[in-house]
Symmetry: none
Subunit: 195 residues, 4 copies
DNA sequence: CATGAATGAGGGTTCATTCAT
DNA sequence: GATGAATGAACCCTCATTCAT
C-alpha cells in the first residue's frame, strides 16, 4: 500500500497526521492512531520525524507552504477596495472546511508551544504583515507609516479572531462568511461614521 | 497554612491552578504541581473539583466573573468615539500581565474543548456582542442592523486576534498597546480613506 | 434519623453494610457508600469498627448469630429420614432471598481472607459438623465413626456447593430448590442403586 | 530472560499471574507484582491482556483447558462403582497442590464477577453435568431423568463444596482426601441405610 | 461521640519512544 | 528502512483512614 519513495512516505505520514490531529486534537491523538491511519508501524514515523511535537510542526509547515503557494497574485494597483478585499479573502477562505479543524488544533498548540508560535509568527504573520503594509501604503499614499503598521495588525488580528469565532458556530458569522471580505473592506475603508 | 473556610480553600486552589496553568500550560501541568503550589495534598483538590478539566473550567469561570465585575460603566451617550474607545479598552487591558498567560492557556484549550468553548461563547462572547450592538446602534442611528451585527463581530474578533498576537511579542504591538483603543476607535469610525 | 443508642447505631451500621456489601460486593463498596446509606458520617463508622475488613467480619458474625438462633429444634429421634431432611432444610433455606447475595460476598472474601475463613470454620462449619455427626450416629447406630465423619462432611459440602451453584442460575436447581431436602435425603439414605 | 515467541510470552505472563494471584489473591495483587515476577515491564502485560480482570479470566481459561485436556477416558461401561469413582477422582485431584490456592482465588472472584461466573458455568459446570448425566443413566438404566439430573447436581455440588472445605484445613478431610472418591462412590450408590 | 475535610500512598493504565530483528 | 513488542516513567484519580473541631 505505502510507496517506497521517502518523500512520498513522509508526505503520506503528514497526510495522516493532519487528518487525525484535525479529528481528535493534538494531545488526544496517539502516535499509534497516526500510524494506523497511515497503514504503517509506529516506529516508522520516527524515521521521518523526531517526536510527536515535531510532527505537528511539520504538519503546520506544510500547511504554511500550501497557503503560501496559494497566495493570490498582487491585486491590480489602483483599486484600493479590490486590494483589501483580496487581502481578506485569501486567509478567510484558506482555512475553511477541512482546514478549519486542523487550524484550530495548530493554533491551540501554538498558543502554548513557543517553538510553534515563533514559527508561525516568523513564517506567516510577519511576512503577511510586511507584505500587507507595502500594499496598503502603495494604495493609500496618504497613510503614514505608524497608522499603516497598526492597520495591518488590526486587520490581521481581525482575520484570526473572526476565524476562531467562526468555530464557535455563531450563526451570523456562518451565514455571511462569503461576503465577509467585501463588508470588512468597506468597514475598514469607510469607517462606521456616515460620510 | 491552609485556611479552614471552604470557599477560601476553593479559591486558594483556583489561585494555584491559575498560576501553574498559566506558567506551564494545561496538559503539562499535573494535579500534583497544583497541589504542591497550594501546599495541600493531591486528593484535596478532588474534594473541590471533579477532575482536571473541571478545574480549568472553574479557573476560567472565575476569570470570567472577574472580567464581568470589572465591566466599565456605560459610557456617556452621545460621544461615539469615547464609547468605542471604552469598549475596546476594557478587554484589551483586562487580559494583560499575568492574565495574558492564563488567557492563552484557556483559549488554547477552548479551541479544542467543546464544553469550554460553549461556555466562553455563551458567557463572554455572546453577551459582549449583544451589549456592544445595542451601544453601537444607539450611538450611530444611521447604522442598519446587519452592518451593526457584522461590526461588533469584526471588533470582537479584532480584539481577540490582537490579544493573541500580543503574545507573539510583536514589538510594534507591544509598544503601542496602551494607545491601541484610541487608534482602533479612529480606524473603525473614520476608515482608512481620507475624508 | 439515627438513634443515639450505641448498640442500635452499631446495628444500624451493620444493616447498611450488609445491604451495600450484598449489592456491590466487598471490594467495590466504599466506606462512604455505607456511611451514606446509613445516613451518617464516614468517620463515625470507625468509632464502631476497626477497619473495612473488620466491618465485613462483623456483618458475617451477625449473620452467623441469626442463623444459629434460627437453628431448628432437634428433630424427633427415630425417624432418620425426617432428621436428615430437617438438617438439610435449614441451611438451604436460610441463605435464600436477600441473604444469598450477602452469602456470596462473604464466602467470596472468606476464600481469600484467612481470618474470616477461620471464623467461618470455627463458628459455623465445625459446630454444624459435630452436631450433625451426633445426630447421625444416634439415628443410624450401624454407622461407624469414620463413615459418619465423612458423611457429614459430604453433606455439608453438598449444601455449600449446591448453594453456590444456585447462584449460577441453573434452572434445574432453581425449579426444585424447595423439594431439594427431600430428594437429597432419599439419595443419601438409599443411594442410587436399586434396592 | 524473556523469550521472543508471543505465545510463550503470553504463557509466561499467565504463569506469573497464576502464581502471584494464588499467593496473594486477586485484589491485593498488583499488575506490578505480576510484572516483576515475570521479569518484564508493567506495560508489557497490557500488550497481551486488556486489563487486570481480563488477566484473571485468562488464567482461569487456561486452567480450564488444562483440566479438560486431563479429562479421564470414559470408564469401562458396566462397572457403575468404577465409573462414579473415576468421575469423582478427576476433579478432586485436579485442583490439588498449587492449584488449590488458585482455584480459591478464581472461585472467590467468580462469586462476585458475573462474567467469570458465566464462563465457569458454561465451560466447566454445564458440560460436566451433561456428560455426567449421560454416564449415569447408561450405568443405571433404572434411574429416571429427574433423579439423574438432581443426582449429578448433588455430586457436582458435593465436589465443589468439599474442595472449598479442604481449604479450611479440616484434618479429617485432609487425611482422607485420596480415598475420598472411593468412599463417596459407596455413599452415593449404597446410601447410608444398611442394606 | 459525630463530623467530614484532609491526607497521601498506591493502583491501573497509557503512550511516546527505543531498538533488536 | 520497516517493524512492533518492550519499556517504564508518569499521570489521574480513589479511598481507607485520621483527627481537629
Amino acid at each position: 500500500m505505502p510507496d517506497p519513495n521517502p518523500t512520498d512516505r513522509r508526505n503520506h505520514i503528514l497526510d495522516s497526521a493532519a487528518v487525525v490531529f484535525a479529528a481528535k486534537g493534538f494531545h488526544p491523538t496517539t502516535i499509534r492512531d497516526i500510524a494506523k491511519h497511515a497503514g504503517i508501524a509506529d516506529g516508522t514515523i520516527y524515521n521521518y520525524f523526531e517526536s510527536k511535537p515535531a510532527l505537528l510542526l511539520a504538519v503546520f509547515q506544510r500547511m504554511r507552504d500550501t497557503i503560501i503557494q496559494a497566495a493570490p497574485p498582487p491585486p491590480p494597483a489602483g483599486d484600493v477596495r479590490a486590494t483589501l478585499r483580496a487581502m481578506l479573502t485569501h486567509p478567510l477562505t484558506a482555512l475553511r472546511d477541512d482546514n478549519f479543524a486542523l487550524f484550530r488544533v495548530v493554533v491551540s498548540e501554538m498558543l502554548v508551544n513557543a517553538e510553534l508560535r515563533a514559527l508561525y509568527h516568523q513564517h506567516i504573520i510577519q511576512p503577511a504583515l510586511d507584505g500587507a503594509e507595502i500594499y496598503l501604503r502603495q494604495a493609500l499614499p496618504t497613510l503614514d507609516a505608524a497608522r499603516a503598521q497598526l492597520a495591518v495588525r488590526a486587520i490581521s488580528g481581525m482575520v484570526m479572531g473572526l476565524t476562531i469565532q467562526y468555530t464557535f458556530d455563531d450563526p451570523t458569522l456562518r451565514g455571511q462568511w462569503d461576503s465577509l471580505p467585501e463588508h470588512l473592506a468597506d468597514l475598514l475603508l469607510d469607517g462606521l461614521l456616515p460620510r
